[in-house]
């Protein structure tokens, strides 16, 4: 019940949208966030509770790769 998952917003109409993850689409309420189609959301109990910061996600991942000693292998 408390499981929240990242999903991508594919369309919206008012405070309702359609979000998708792994080919599965579901209706989400957008009352709690300001979001544009194409952005990634954390969806919990039918509501988007946050818009994911994608740049931050990449930066943090890069930092973790450094800590894990994977930087030399990191290539685009």
């Amino acid at each position: 019940m408390c499981l929240a998952i990242p999903m991508r917003l594919v369309s919206r109409e008012g405070n309702k949208g359609i979000a998708e993850v792994g080919g599965v689409r579901t209706e989400v309420r957008l009352d709690l966030v300001e979001v544009e189609v194409g952005q990634s959301l954390i969806v919990h109990a039918g509501f988007a509770i946050q818009v994911l910061d994608e740049d931050d996600a990449s930066e943090r991942l890069e930092l973790l790769r450094q800590i894990a000693g994977l930087v030399d292998e990191a290539s685009p």
Partner: protein
Amino acid sequence: MTKSVQQLADGRTSQRDPRLVRGLAEALARRDPGRKLRFMHVCGTHEHEISRYGLRRLLPPWLEVIAGPGCPVCVCPVSELDLGAQLGLQGKAIVATFGDLERVPARLSLAEVRAQGADVRVVTSAAGAATLARSLPGRQVVFLAVGFETTACTTAAVALADPPPNLSFVLSHRLVPPALEALLSHPALALDGFLLPGHVCTVQGTEEYAPLALSKGLKMAVAGFEPADVLDGLLALVDRVIADRPGVDNCYTRSVRTSGNTAARAFVARVFTPLDAPWRGLGTIPRSGLAFTEEFAHLDATSRFGLTPDRSLDVPDRACRCDEILLGLRTPAGCPLFGRACTPEHPHGPCMVSLEGTCAAWYRHPPEPAELPAARHDDGGQR
């Protein structure tokens, strides 16, 4: 769309990269705090991911991560579940509930009252309960609103979005920070800090936790839910211990802002007011629950239907150890019923019912014997 978006939205593969996870575990093992450390997480999803990926197997022997009261269905007292059962049995309302609530054993579970003819329906959100009520204008619909800050904001959003007049709520929301404070007063736990729940903090931010960390000399880190996210949080906690630096690290910055989701917090502040509330296993904790403010009091099912929770139902089950498991005083392996008289098919307590329950996680993803601290299972788990 960038690659990172695609990964995050469609697979989140990066934070699951086995090489990354192994590398972070090795970085953790290179730390030397000079003593044993014990951190508690308070999130059912953390326990599930830790169990699912066998992360405890990767931790150095001096590092213990235990599960606390992170399952909102599990901490919901029987007396509040019973309100839903009574409403259903009396035929006063359709009871709308999250699926994992209906099988929680009580005087009569919601599944049992449905078998006796009550109209109990599973919804996946508070919005679903509002849709149900709109589709049946001649009937009353009561939504059993269980959940931490993550779910309370969704109940608030429904309350603010012109809810149908035949919809009301039994409020069993609970707040995490007061529970952390209550846990600290438990001397047997001896915690070095908390791995904070990423999605609760997504809504609520980290501001509430810093004063608690500083006043109690605690180390805290907000963590996400992929294997690398969990290890990221643990590294931050261990480094804070080594530097003897109480405070809060946010390691889940892609979702958690310092002030959280300010819109969601404003919704909650307008719709609810804190009140003292009982928790299974923890007793009554000051200002850890939510009641409707005067403006929204008409949405309260207990006053609409004249119900009072029968708190005499909130006595610990003598056989079931969920109360101690919720406190981190015992692991599922230390419960005599676990996996024998208590299974997901025939649950004896809430920790085996809810997907967020510690027992459900351990049953689905059994730990290896080496992962079980001897003192916490050989003698039946009592410390």
